[in-house]
């Protein structure tokens, strides 16, 4: 199977691909998905036939006019509701490896054209109790199997796909913010005012990239389906220098952080994987491995901007440090 974007010299990632995580969806050259073969679009024909590969691996001939003009792996809002066939995406975050390098945050911000304070991925400092040892806690959207945000949406602007991903169509969103209040993980952000970047229409809007964003609508972490369609890892997983973030497919029971590929169930079993706030019953698709046998002392994470460090001032551990004058 031809891959237009082979990863440079990364044996493991290639193995991961060979395992078929991303299927053939984006593999075909030119790789645009067939927008759809809906009858209403068949009216405008160009007469020119093009051969394309369908998501389920069949070669079909379609009219050139029915192929969308979206760039590679970018799908229209309508198509983005379907999901990538036969996948159940899952993320595993190994807390014992995180040192608050914030590369995941930056990678995500760059890819989604987010401003300084707009973060789909947040790194929090969590101390579960006074005695407990604090740890760095990267927090994306959990793409719950019982997503409260999807249930409460009055227009279906936010939806759950067959592949487990929860996305937002900002062309459908009316900005009622009910989803923001119903999410127990504070995963969602809102575009409160107009920004110049919203006017940049050079890239057509797709819920899979959430670019360009729109005023008065919600945004959140999307698991980067555009990357998944190209057989790549989400931006946060790719950017992490420590390999904290594993990503993969539950159906195939495989996750990878780019440098090692492991069995998902084995990883959860061996390392005591858990889901955050399990008792709420939202059934997240993001698992955490507890912060035991850490690779770095917590303090390595203090090497960030003053402004970022200031965020953690209410954590008891940080209060103690401040009192002792160690900060």
């Amino acid at each position: 199977m031809a891959n237009k974007n082979p990863e440079k010299g990364n044996e493991n990632r290639r193995k991961f691909l060979r395992l078929g995580l991303m299927s053939s969806v984006s593999a075909f050259a030119g790789a645009s998905l067939i927008s759809n073969l809906a009858p209403d679009e068949e009216e405008k024909t160009s007469g020119e036939k093009v051969r394309v590969l369908t998501p389920d691996g069949k070669m079909v001939e379609v009219d050139a006019a029915s192929i969308n003009k979206y760039p590679e792996a970018l799908v229209t809002p309508e198509e983005s509701r379907k999901g990538i066939p036969d996948k159940q995406f899952v993320m595993v975050i190994d807390l014992s490896k995180c040192k608050n390098a914030r590369k995941c945050v930056e990678g995500c911000q760059k890819a989604h054209k987010l401003d300084n304070h707009e973060e789909f991925m947040k790194v929090q400092l969590i101390q579960d109790n006074e005695e407990g040892s604090p740890y760095w806690f990267p927090k994306p959207c959990f793409h719950c199997d019982e997503p409260p945000c999807v249930t409460v949406c009055p227009t279906g602007a936010t939806f759950k796909r067959d592949d487990g991903i929860v996305l937002i169509d900002n062309e459908r969103c009316i900005g009622c913010k009910f989803c923001v209040t119903s999410c127990p993980y504070s995963a969602r952000t809102f575009n409160w005012g107009h920004k110049e970047k919203f006017d940049d229409k050079s890239q057509p809007y797709s819920p899979e990239t959430q670019v360009p964003a729109a005023e008065g609508t919600v945004m959140k972490c999307d698991f980067c389906p555009d990357m998944l369609r190209q057989g790549k890892l989400p931006h946060c997983a790719q950017s992490c220098p420590m390999g904290v973030i594993y990503f993969g497919d539950k159906n195939e029971d495989i996750v990878t952080n780019g440098s090692e590929t492991v069995s998902f169930s084995q990883l959860i079993k061996d390392k005591g994987g858990y889901r955050h706030l399990e008792h709420l019953g939202t059934k997240p698709n993001v698992y955490y491995l507890p912060a035991v046998d850490r690779q770095f002392p917590l303090e390595r994470g203090f090497d960030v901007d003053e402004e970022i460090l200031e965020r953690y001032k209410d954590v008891p551990y940080m209060k103690d440090l401040k009192e002792q004058g160690k900060l």
């Binding site: 409460v152 009055p154 969103c173 900005g175 009910f178 409160w192």
Partner: protein, 442 residues
């Protein structure tokens, strides 16, 4: 004929209410319009610049708009509820207050939903609610409930107005042409014949029962917007009945205040008497006891079971919002109870004072339900931007809130110019009943 004569008398008696526009009333109307205009300016600014001009940010995404929304809509539901009960059970002294209640019901149901529109980031896409409706969403339920209630209340209010429109139509000699026309059109050929009267009574009675049921459903749906989420402080099974009681608490208080103001400014001491205040005061006492009980149960069970998220919320309430909490849930409940409990405190002025305290306390209580929960999510807010940590309403939000209140009062005044606030037909009905009863007693 006796009745015709009596009708004429009543029209004569009440016509100053409809026609009089004194200097003070003109100043008042001007003042209210000015407030509404400021609100409109604020709205234009918000519409053009987006919600960035409000105090709402990613954590507290719902601010005083939604509090105003709950407040007004609950007010309306309680108005419907009370008015339905007054009609259905043929309460003896209902006539003087029933129209006040009905007008409150409809007006607050017009003003309330405006505030939920202000919460919406993309007003230009509002029709998506109907284009892509999702029946699973509590917001859709709320839209259905509010619209049904609005239509129901309008029909009900209109039904109670018809006999008075007929009286005004028959006695409108010397009135401006447009008024005559309006009355004629609104009275839909009602001539107060025996059959017509009976039919109207029957319909109104059926409608009043339906309105009670509607109000209870609509209240519950409104409460569910909060209680169906998993957020600490919201996810509570008593929220629906709690909202009903809280709504009645504000509803009766607003009725008392309206009675006081109308009595004072329109010199209706003869119709709105102390007995009405005492009656409403006693109901307010019962409701305030219930409301206090619900509030206590709500916070007590959270405090006693001390789940982590609940404790964090209580921590916010007792530190950051200490005085607000004391005001809302101690002063706002205990002061009215004390005033209304002792007979010697029950004067018109003190009952009105209790109602004012109750309303302010209740508004603060709603604030403490909405904002602190959003400021205390499950995962701690770790941010350095003060506006993302703590919510403070901006002048835009306040001026729109005051514009809502001003619009409510202004519409009230305008309706009172169209129809007497004391139903004339009610007075006639009452006298008729008395006449029927008398021979039997003798």
């Amino acid at each position: 004929m006796d009745v015709v004569k009596r009708k004429k008398e009543l029209v004569k008696e009440f016509s100053p209410l409809l026609e009089k526009s004194t200097k003070t009333s003109k100043i008042w109307v001007g003042f209210l319009i000015a407030i509404i205009l400021v609100g409109l300016v604020a709205f234009v600014i918000q519409f053009r610049k987006g919600h960035i001009v409000t105090g709402m940010r990613d954590n507290v995404v719902w601010g005083i708009y939604i509090i105003n929304f709950i407040f007004f809509v609950c007010l309306s539901y309680s108005g419907a509820f009370i008015s339905g009960i007054l009609h259905f059970f043929k309460t003896p002294w209902k006539n003087s207050v029933s129209r006040i209640v009905e007008v409150i019901t409809v007006l607050s149901l017009i003003v309330g939903p405006i505030f939920i529109l202000l919460c919406i980031g993309r007003l230009d896409r509002l029709y998506f609610l109907f284009l892509y409706p999702r029946i699973q969403s509590p917001i859709t339920w709320d839209i259905i409930a509010i619209m049904t209630d609005l239509i129901g209340c309008f029909i009900y209010l209109y039904l109670t107005f018809i006999p008075d429109f007929a009286i005004l139509r028959d006695n409108s000699e010397g009135q401006p042409k447009w008024r005559q026309k309006v009355y004629k059109w609104l009275a839909i050929n009602y001539h107060d014949t025996e059959t017509q009267r009976e039919k109207l009574h029957k319909i109104t009675r059926t409608m009043s029962a339906m309105i009670i049921a509607l109000a209870i459903i609509a209240y519950s749906v409104l409460a569910w917007i909060f209680s169906l989420t998993v957020q600490p402080g919201w996810n509570s099974s008593i929220f629906a009945p709690y909202f009903i009681i809280a709504g009645l608490y504000s509803g009766i208080s607003v009725i008392i205040i309206a009675m006081y103001l109308i009595r004072k400014f329109y010199h209706l001491d003869h119709y709105i008497r102390k007995v009405h205040f005492i009656g409403a005061g006693v109901i307010l006492l019962v409701i305030s006891l219930l409301y206090g009980y619900f509030t206590f149960s709500e916070y007590f069970s959270r405090w006693f079971s001390h789940k982590d998220a609940d404790m964090k919320l209580l921590d916010t309430l007792f530190n950051k919002y200490f005085w607000e909490f004391i005001f809302a849930n101690y002063i706002g409940i205990l002061v009215p109870i004390v005033i209304l409990f002792f007979k010697k405190f029950r004067t018109i002025k003190s009952i009105t004072f209790a109602a004012v305290v109750a309303i302010l306390g209740l508004y603060m209580n709603r604030y403490l339900i909405v904002v602190p929960t959003l400021e205390t999510p499950y995962l701690p807010i770790q941010d350095t931007r003060p506006e993302y940590i703590h919510y403070t309403a901006t002048w835009i939000e306040w001026s729109l809130s005051f514009a809502g209140i001003a619009a409510f009062i202004l519409f009230f005044i305008l309706i009172m110019r169209l129809v007497p606030i004391i139903p004339m037909s009610g007075i006639i009905d009452h006298e008729r009943e008395e006449k029927k009863k008398k021979p039997r007693i003798i």
